[in-house]
């Protein structure tokens, strides 16, 4: 009996909340980027927003991104983007890496919508490359994968160039949103930002987008260009 009591005391002691700030505290971060984009076709406005809340290990993330043309139309980006809203549960699986699973709700041009499940990883790869790699399956049954990578090059502590690449693959055509099977789109570019504060950084940049394979075919059919060179200007904030 005494041993049992002692055992219980030991359990209570080890579970005591004394100074356990390290696992009671909740933190959060909100990131946003808004940019104007100019190309050979109508100019548009793009945004990328993300936020997380949680502890060191487990977090809830929400992400929203999209492109809205000055003509009022959603830019489908070859069916790969639309107005894309995601919610994830994420868990730290290694010092620089989170695994995440979640749901995606996307709105495309002409009132098309897609919903799906997502799973992926996000983190900092060796040499400091930030990676966001996600695979998903939508309500049309199409499986897709998306990779985004960025890298910071410091010219000074405040003037920072950030090259980026994005690529997407899909398992089958989804003609309603003009998404083609295989490698559908790649984009690369660079944003040069000046951090007025760590949290506030206006930037200028350029990006080159290329539709490939069946996606390029859809664009051609629609009379749209299969590649675009864009100039970018915007602001990146976080808090």
């Amino acid at each position: 009996m005494r041993t049992i009591t002692k055992g219980l005391v030991a359990i209570l002691l080890s579970a005591s909340p004394a100074l356990a700030m390290d696992d009671l505290a909740t933190y959060w971060r909100v990131d946003g980027l808004v940019e104007r984009r100019a190309s050979s076709v109508s100019p548009d406005t793009a945004w990328q927003g993300s936020a997380w809340i949680g502890g060191d290990t487990d977090r809830i993330r929400i992400e929203s991104s999209g492109v809205l043309g000055d003509n009022g139309r959603i830019d489908n980006e070859g069916g790969t983007q639309g107005i894309d809203n995601r919610v994830y549960y994420s868990r730290m699986i290694a010092p620089f890496w989170d695994a995440k699973v979640g749901l995606q709700m996307s709105a495309f041009d002409r009132g098309e919508t897609r919903a799906g499940f997502l799973a992926g990883v996000e983190g900092l790869a060796p040499y400091g490359v930030h990676i966001d790699a996600v695979a998903g399956v939508s309500n049309t049954g199409i499986v897709s994968g998306r990779l985004e990578a960025t890298y910071d090059i410091l010219f000074t502590q405040k003037l920072i160039a950030q090259p980026y690449v994005e690529a997407m693959v899909a398992s089958a055509d989804d003609p309603a949103i003009r998404l083609g099977a295989g490698l559908s789109r790649i984009e690369g570019g660079l944003r040069l930002r000046y951090e007025i504060e760590k949290e506030v950084a206006p930037f200028i940049g350029a990006g080159f987008e290329q539709f490939t394979g069946a996606t390029a075919g859809f664009a051609t059919t629609d009379g749209e260009p299969t590649s675009k060179l864009r100039l970018l200007a915007g602001v990146k904030v976080w808090f």
Binding site: M21, A25, D56
Partner: protein, 541 residues
């Protein structure tokens, strides 16, 4: 009768026990530091004070009156006392509720320079710290004409909550010395040979591969460094007459800073470390970690001002005070020196091995990391220079060894022992009287001043029987430090990094010293997670 006589003799030797009562009122108010209003926690209206003057053997009674809207506490840093007087909420006691008074009572069993501070929330890093000076029962052996406390601290414009939130959002947030592309181009252009260029590139790649930056010497920048609660412009001044001997009691009461201390023009004779007397050693500079104390004798002979400089190890700032024959005098304030870069050695790797391999980590016998900008020929204190003077206490051979890795995740801003935060590890259990060897290996790129409450660390600094006794020991990046702790007092004792954000985010363990003869809990023999420990018990009974 013989017992009575023995008691009488003991009483005569120890002298009549003195007793003192001290009242400390804890409040939160605005104080002017370097001309700027700062909201700080105060003790009797002071920041960095009041100094408590005790005498060895004294029975002290301290009434702590909490005028805050939140709980408070006082921890007596480096003081040997019963565990329930140690002042750590949740471990030693329940804390001091708003509007209440808590009375500490204990007998002072030591002498030297110590300090006290809150162990609640962010109070310590927002002003709640002050010195303790304990006179030896028989008076100071090494006399001085003047006696000053030099309590160094760091004060930030941002609240501690905000600092920690920023660090959790971006571990690099406060590093404004990151290496840039132009730095690389300049270094390559200045390189003398292709080998040198190759070395520069390899070094860059090695750091990039680890996703780290060798300029990351301190996690937080933007501090104003204070001496006795005054900023560099306020310039705290201690007076002397030329030719006098001055005792300076240095205390590092900062939240996140290590300092390199010097008094240009004067040599520094170290006579005590962490309160305990050491064989006097004369140096030009010494490094002091958060939580450490050093007593230093200086003899200014000239009729002029001398600047006491304590540069933060990242050289972002300087704590400054002045020794002068008259008030209002000042010596030039040296510009902060050049910050060092961490080398691959600091990551535990020799230069020719850029790939991280913990099995091949350097286990140098004793770390000696002088400041990079110390003038050549200057003698910088090393732990190896510290030798005890009191050989009356034994150094028992350790019965067992506990190896600990100091670990961290800068990206997430998590600090830990053995990759586990405080909340993820059970306490470490010991038997009263046992001596345990601790081998700490620092796998991170930060210096960690590791502090134990209520017990002494006998530091293995290569001096054998002369090894010094400390309560806080710096474990430099990539290095291994060994010390023995004799579990002299029953109770629950925190063991943690004294960089407060490291402590708060997980680099903290609880020691439980069980009464002699009592069997240790199962967890001591076989470390397990709390849940599995519970199941184990259920299974056996």
């Amino acid at each position: 009768m013989r017992g009575f006589l023995a008691c009488l003799v003991l009483w005569a030797v120890a002298g009549p026990a003195s007793a003192g009562t001290y009242d400390l009122v804890i409040d939160h108010q605005s104080k002017r530091i370097d001309g700027q209003e700062r909201q700080v926690f105060t003790i009797n209206g002071e920041i960095g004070g009041p100094t408590l003057h005790w005498t060895e053997g004294e029975e002290v009674t301290i009434n702590v009156i909490n005028r805050l809207k939140e709980d408070t506490s006082i921890h007596w840093h480096g003081i040997l006392l019963p565990s329930d007087q140690d002042g750590v909420p949740g471990i030693s006691f329940d804390g001091i509720k708003p509007g209440t008074t808590f009375t500490y009572r204990f007998k002072v069993r030591q002498s030297g320079t110590y300090w006290y501070h809150s162990h609640s929330g962010n109070q310590e890093q927002e002003g709640f710290y002050a010195p303790i000076v304990i006179a030896p029962a028989g008076g100071e052996k090494l006399k001085a004409d003047r006696d000053y406390v030099v309590l160094m601290s760091d004060q930030h414009a941002l609240s501690a909550d905000t600092i920690l939130r920023k660090l959790k959002q971006d571990g690099d947030y406060f590093n404004d010395h990151r290496r840039t592309l132009p730095d690389l181009v300049r270094a390559l252009a200045n390189a003398k040979s292709s080998d040198a260029r190759q070395a520069i590139v390899s070094d860059r790649l090695a750091w990039a591969e680890m996703r780290m930056d060798p300029t990351d010497l301190a996690d937080v920048s933007g501090y104003t460094f204070l001496v006795n609660g005054r900023g560099p412009m306020d310039n705290w001044t201690g007076l002397f007459k030329p030719g006098e001997k001055v005792r300076l009691r240095f205390i590092n009461g900062s939240a996140m800073s290590l300092f390199d201390v010097a008094v240009p023009g004067l040599r520094l004779t170290i006579v005590r470390a962490d309160g305990n007397a050491v064989q006097p050693v004369t140096v030009d500079a010494f490094r002091i970690g958060a939580g450490e104390t050093y007593d230093v004798l200086v003899e200014p002979r000239e009729d002029r001002a001398y600047t006491i400089t304590a540069q933060s190890i990242d050289r972002r700032g300087i704590a400054r005070a002045t020794l002068a024959p008259r008030d209002g005098m000042a010596a030039p304030l040296p510009q902060p020196g050049t910050p060092g870069l961490l080398g691959m050695m600091d990551m535990g790797m020799p230069m020719d091995m850029p790939h991280m391999d913990h099995s091949k980590m350097d286990h140098a016998p004793f770390p000696q990391v002088p400041p990079v900008d110390a003038p050549s020929g200057a003698k910088v204190l090393s732990y190896a220079d510290l030798k005890r003077t009191d050989h009356a206490y034994p150094l028992p051979a350790p019965g067992r060894t506990i190896a600990m890795r100091l670990t961290g995740n800068m990206d997430r801003y998590i600090w830990s022992f053995d990759d586990k935060k405080y909340s993820e590890q059970p306490s470490l259990d010991f038997s009263e009287g046992e001596t345990v060897r601790f081998v700490l290996h620092n796998e991170t790129m930060m210096n960690h001043p590791i502090h134990v409450h209520g017990l002494w660390m006998d530091l293995d600094n290569g001096t054998g029987v002369d090894r010094p006794r400390k309560h806080t020991v710096i474990v430099p990046p990539g290095r291994t430090v060994t010390f023995d702790i004799t579990m002299s007092t029953v109770g629950r004792w925190p063991f943690h990094c004294h960089l407060l954000f490291h402590m708060m985010t997980g680099m903290f363990r609880e020691f439980v010293v069980h009464p002699r003869g009592e069997p240790l809990p199962v967890s001591a023999a076989k470390p397990m997670a709390p849940m599995s420990m519970g199941m184990d018990h259920a299974h056996h009974h």
